[in-house]
């Protein structure tokens, strides 16, 4: 099994500023995917960004980017130019590529963007 740990239960950031959410994971596998999902109050889980473990280049999606440190098993999410709509729960998740079908989720970080 894999474990995903998010050590920041709550965070806040001023609008237009940058914030980084932390995530660490534990796996003995070499091939896996890492994800950040956003869950706003509407409850629907939305994929923010995905990283394949075999890729050294950090994934980016517009204002969202990750810092993937494979040796340290760290996968942080950076949100630039924070917007009010970024207020949500953020979940870090992992999936083993070749054996497992399930996603393993962390406990989430509640992010509030302050106007």
């Amino acid at each position: 099994a894999q474990t995903v740990t998010q050590s920041q239960p709550e965070m806040s950031v001023q609008e237009a500023e940058t914030v980084t959410l932390s995530c660490t994971y534990d796996t003995s596998e070499n091939n896996y995917y890492l994800f950040w999902y956003k869950q706003p109050p509407s409850r629907q889980m939305i994929l923010v960004i995905r990283q394949e473990a075999y890729k050294q280049q950090n994934a980016t999606e517009n204002r969202f980017s990750v810092n993937f440190q494979k040796a340290a098993k760290s996968f942080s999410l950076k949100i630039s130019d924070s917007q009010l709509g970024d207020t949500a729960m953020y979940f870090c998740a992992s999936r083993i590529s070749n054996t497992g079908n399930q996603f393993y989720f962390g406990t989430g970080t509640s992010l509030t963007v302050i106007p």
């Binding site: 995903v4 629907q44 889980m45 939305i46 994929l47 995905r50 999936r95 079908n101 399930q102 989720f105």
Partner: protein
């Protein structure tokens, strides 16, 4: 293009009762996974269905069962409800050969009293 839909939105049941939750996958998807998300926690994998069979199961008792229909829609059944079954139940769909792209539905909030 319809996304993942779930019904009902909310449900209140009494301890010991049985409940059925429903999920329609995103158009074109053939695989459905179910997750339980307790309050303040991340989603926990219950099981996954493909070709009308359960492919993989998480650490949940046999009280939790499911079904997938020929049109790829799915049901989650929970028997002998316990207070601890109160949670948000999420359905996610994907293509079997693109499992890293998983789309979630809005969930069903189940309250057991």
């Amino acid at each position: 293009d319809a996304g993942v839909t779930q019904s009902p939105t909310h449900l209140i049941k009494t301890r010991g009762q049985q409940v059925t939750l429903r999920c329609s996958p995103k158009s074109g998807h053939d695989t459905v996974s179910w997750y339980q998300q307790a309050l303040g926690q991340g989603p926990q994998f219950i099981f996954q269905y493909y070709e009308e069979e359960e492919r993989q199961r998480g650490n949940f008792p046999d009280r939790f069962s499911g079904h997938q229909f020929p049109n790829y829609s799915s049901e989650l059944n929970v028997n002998a409800l316990l207070l601890g079954d109160s949670a948000l139940y999420l359905c996610a769909s994907s293509l079997v050969n693109r499992m890293y792209e998983q789309y979630f539905g809005p969930g069903t909030r189940l309250t057991v009293t």
